[in-house]
Symmetry: C2
Subunit: 114 residues, 2 copies
DNA sequence: CTCATCGGTAAGTGGTAGCTTACGGTTCGT
DNA sequence: ACGAACCGTAAGCTACCACTTACCGATGAG
């Protein structure tokens, strides 16, 4: 899917953040994750389903267990999304700073008046 | 605060994502945000409190209204946090790919044997 | 074939996040 | 000083999310 906002929403949960953190260091099975995390194995499984649905993790069956890993490309999508926010906010921030020291009345060029 | 994980958690809510999206384009008052968003003004106010608590937005009083804007530096913190995830996952991903096409039996160097 | 390991899913529960309405405080205009 | 505009907070409610236990299918080892 590579939907950035959906990924961001999925990353909102602290447990899922921990899962991504652990998986970013290398592939892990569900049980291994559950050993590290303070929740049960089914809980981990459900979180992994969420992460997989938005495309943040990949999984493959190896023997009797299923290895999960982070999809770097998906993470890059979220990164770019935040980049866009950051650049825009930076531009807006600097613009405001300029008009502040120059002209207290800010009615910039072509801004949309609600 | 500049706590990256707390910021990520705060960004988990779609409404807050919309708020950041709108504010990244320039400072806005609470009422202006409420006009654009599909929620009431108090709801926006509560979301702004969350975003402010984690340091993602700044506010200043101007006349009778309060202008909010994104703190670019805070957003940069989150960006770097995701960068770390991304780099780690990329390294792990490439390492796995290499041992795959080279040696089907993967018992790499000093990996943790459960 | 049998048993053990591993993991996904169903069912059910508690907590809380997000929303609304109502109210009070603050600032500006006249 | 009075009224209007703007905003934060309290109170309350609903819905959903994260978690647990229980169950079942699938894969490997003996």
């Amino acid at each position: 899917m590579t939907n950035a906002t959906a990924m961001l929403t999925a990353l909102g949960d602290p447990t899922r953040q921990s899962i991504i953190d652990a998986l970013s260091r290398g592939p892990l099975a569900v049980g291994q994750l559950a050993d590290v995390l303070p929740v049960s194995r089914p809980a981990v499984s459900q979180h992994l389903k969420v992460l997989k649905d938005v495309g943040l993790v990949l999984d493959r069956q190896v023997g009797t267990r299923r290895l999960y890993q982070v999809d770097p490309e998906a993470l890059a999508v979220v990164r770019r999304h935040l980049d866009a926010f950051w650049e825009r906010s930076l531009a807006a921030f600097e613009q405001r700073t300029r008009s502040e020291e120059d002209d207290p009345d800010d009615s910039g060029s072509g801004d949309d008046p609600a």
